[in-house]
């Protein structure tokens, strides 16, 4: 592998996250590369989602949650007291496990985020671009005024992705985006993720190891440490993690010995 200058999109440094007294994730150092897909895998309850939500401060919606350490975004720690979480979330978008379109029209689902974020350009164009970007335009272009909830699960999830890219984030966080979908819909989303990675940095949590192997460039393996806290066990290029991991635990997990 040639030595080239790789740009970082976001980086966690010594990050620990707590729910009240319980430390859910402990001292994670994780570097996320620009315009690549980073997968977070690991057994259930090891804090994968918590880690993901740390990148746009979504954990703060749980009243008892708090963080220690740094998350650097363009050199700025997003946990600094002068940082506005709302600003962070405008740059770091999120797609959730269960498709959750707003009970509004398809058009408004996409346009709403742009509108509250003060978008001044042509809204129709933005909606069309975003829906095309999420590879759902052809399916919905004739029924933009229909309720978003009337779509199928896979379409709903792509609508949610369209809605996220409409606000032009740098990074898209995906929290097991395919776990509620059938295999065909999953395939669509995976193809879409590869296309999106040309313009966006994607971090995806998945417990489907084939999916991580198929779509991601880098893989972070989380495991349960002492006191049931999540730790970053191993991080590296996906090929390496899946073929020749440094740690025995990583290999055990990937080959299905536990998890």
């Amino acid at each position: 592998m040639a030595k080239k200058d790789i740009e970082l999109a976001i980086e966690a440094r010594n990050l620990s996250i707590y729910y009240g007294d319980f430390r859910a994730v402990t001292e994670v150092n994780l570097k996320v590369v620009q315009n690549k897909i980073t997968a977070i895998i690991g057994p259930s309850g090891c804090g994968k989602s918590t880690m993901l939500r740390a990148f746009n401060r979504m954990n703060e919606l749980v009243p008892t949650a708090w963080a220690e350490g740094e998350v650097l975004y363009h050199g700025k720690n997003i946990y600094d007291p002068d940082v506005d979480p709302v600003e962070v979330r405008r740059r770091v978008g999120m797609v959730f496990q269960k498709p959750n379109p707003f009970p509004k029209s398809i058009y408004d689902n996409v346009a709403w985020g742009a509108r509250v974020n003060g978008y001044k350009g042509n809204m129709d164009d933005l909606v069309e671009q975003s829906l095309k970007g999420a590879a759902i335009w052809d399916e919905v272009k004739d029924k933009l005024d229909q309720n978003g909830l009337s779509l199928s699960g896979g379409q709903q999830q792509r609508l949610c992705i369209a809605r996220t890219i409409a606000i032009k984030p740098d990074i898209i966080l995906m929290d097991e985006p395919c776990s509620a979908l059938d295999p065909i819909a999953t395939l669509h989303i995976e193809e879409l993720m590869r296309e999106l990675s040309e313009d966006y940095t994607i971090i995806i949590v998945t417990h489907n190891m084939q999916q991580a192997a198929r779509v991601s460039d880098y893989t972070a393996f989380f495991n349960l440490g002492e006191g049931r806290t999540g730790i970053l066990d191993e991080f590296g290029e996906t090929d390496k993690i899946f073929t020749n991991p440094d740690h025995q635990t990583t290999e055990d997990y990937i080959t299905g010995r536990f998890g």
Binding site: N56, M58, L61, P63, V86, E87, R89, R90, R91, G93, M94, F96, K98, N100, P101, F102, P103, W112, G113, V116, N117, L149, C160, R163, T164, I167, L173
Partner: protein, 419 residues
């Protein structure tokens, strides 16, 4: 050995068997008891409604001071007489003073024929209800009613009367039950409720949003929540006393309209619609808050997360996603709370509902009466006729409440979002 076991089993199962049948018997008895209790609840409701209907309709015996037939001129009954003849009848039969007073109120030429006819009936024929019978008696003992009336009031005519009529809805209070209506009370109720809604709805929904969307688990927020739950259990009359002390007395300048230069010359104190409305507002505030909290809680969290995840602020999330999806629940809960306020009587008595007013309320600073107050005052009268109009007023009140509840159910079914 095996026979022994068999014998043992027989003995045991016999013991079980006799025991079981008695257990089943007591089971059936208690099943009947439970079912009967439920039936009693339903019977109570039915009897209550029938009891109201029983007094609203029925035969009455009416005695006229002068038989209308005697007033006929040249064989033409008064119903068909010309205006001038009717005036003449009035002039002949009422005192000169009254005749002049009526004329000075409005000259005869300006009155319509119907008005003068009504005057003749009221002043000359002057019918009085001398006895009333319940609907039950009127249906099942019809002959007896007529017999009794003929014996006791030989000059009276017996007619079937519905105390609930369009005239009853349209006429104001009167000291005579036959001429009394609920117009003033209905308008008073509507005005009061309007104030209540304007006052309590924004406050209640605001408090619910605060508690559900903003409040973190701090002692002050816990105190607010506990306090709301406790306020919901305070007897309504306590709110009346509070309203008397604060709205009527302490804020008299404001609630009498004095600061706005709007003092009603007949009151000049704080016993006004606005005091009543705000008292009821405080009373139903905890209910509105609790109901609205339930509605807001029902909005799935995934929507809030999606909204925050797109960089929306808390208020944008609440305004664009939480409220639109909770609105039907909030409205339903509010309507239910408001219908409680419409039926409230005790706090308004304490705040100072007027005992007798005949003019329509014309704004928040008028004196007032309401439907339940009217029912209370009429029920407290000893004469039977007042019981009849109290029953009719109860029907009006129940119809009002029923239509509100129907609206609430419609709202719930129509706008409820499925997730």
């Amino acid at each position: 050995m095996s026979t022994n076991i068999f014998e043992d089993n027989t003995a045991q199962s016999e013991a079980f068997h006799s025991n079981l049948s008695s257990r089943h018997r007591s089971g059936r008895i208690w099943h009947f008891v439970f079912q009967a209790s439920t039936l009693i609840g339903i019977i109570a409701l039915t009897v209550l409604l029938l009891n109201v209907l029983d007094s609203t309709f029925g035969y009455i015996a009416v005695e006229d001071e002068i038989n209308p037939a005697d007033l006929a001129i040249n064989g033409i009954p008064i119903e068909q007489l010309h205006q001038i003849d009717l005036v003449w009848i009035l002039e002949q039969n009422v005192s000169k003073g009254l005749f002049r007073r009526l004329e000075s109120e409005m000259p005869w030429e300006e009155r319509t024929r119907e008005e003068i006819y009504d005057l003749v009936v009221a002043r000359v024929v002057n019918p009085t209800v001398v006895d009333t019978w319940s609907l039950r008696e009127s249906i099942f003992n019809r002959n007896q009613v007529f017999q009794e009336a003929a014996e006791k009031y030989p000059g009276a005519r017996v007619e079937f009367k519905s105390w609930l009529s369009s005239a009853f809805l349209a006429t104001p209070q009167s000291p005579e039950p036959e001429r009394a209506g609920v117009r003033t009370a209905i308008l008073g109720s509507l005005w009061t409720i309007a104030i209540t809604i304007v006052f309590a709805f924004p406050l209640g929904v605001g408090a619910a949003i605060y508690l559900e969307e903003y409040a973190t688990d701090t002692p002050i927020n816990r105190l607010i929540q506990t306090n709301i739950n406790n306020l919901a259990g305070v007897p309504s009359i306590i709110y009346g006393i509070l309203g008397l002390a604060i709205f009527v007395r302490a804020l008299e300048k404001f609630t009498s309209g004095a600061v706005f230069g709007l003092v009603d010359p007949t009151t000049a104190n704080g016993r006004t619609i606005i005091s009543a409305g705000m008292t009821l507002g405080l009373l139903i505030l905890p209910l509105i808050i609790i109901n609205a909290q339930e509605a807001i809680k029902a909005v799935p969290n995934s929507l809030r997360q999606a909204s925050f995840g797109m960089g929306a602020t808390r208020w944008q999330t609440v305004w664009h996603h939480v409220l639109p999806n909770a609105v039907s629940g909030i409205l339903t809960g509010t309507i239910l709370a408001v219908s409680r306020a419409i039926g409230e009587t005790a706090p308004l008595v304490v705040v100072g509902a007027s005992t007798f007013i005949t003019f329509d309320p014309d704004g928040p600073f008028s004196k007032f009466t309401t439907l339940p107050i009217q029912i209370y005052q009429w029920t407290a009268r000893p004469q039977d006729e007042f019981r009849n109009i109290a029953a009719a007023a109860i029907l009006v009140l129940l119809a009002l409440l029923l239509s509100m509840n129907a609206t609430a159910i419609l709202l719930r079914n129509r706008y409820s979002t499925k997730f």
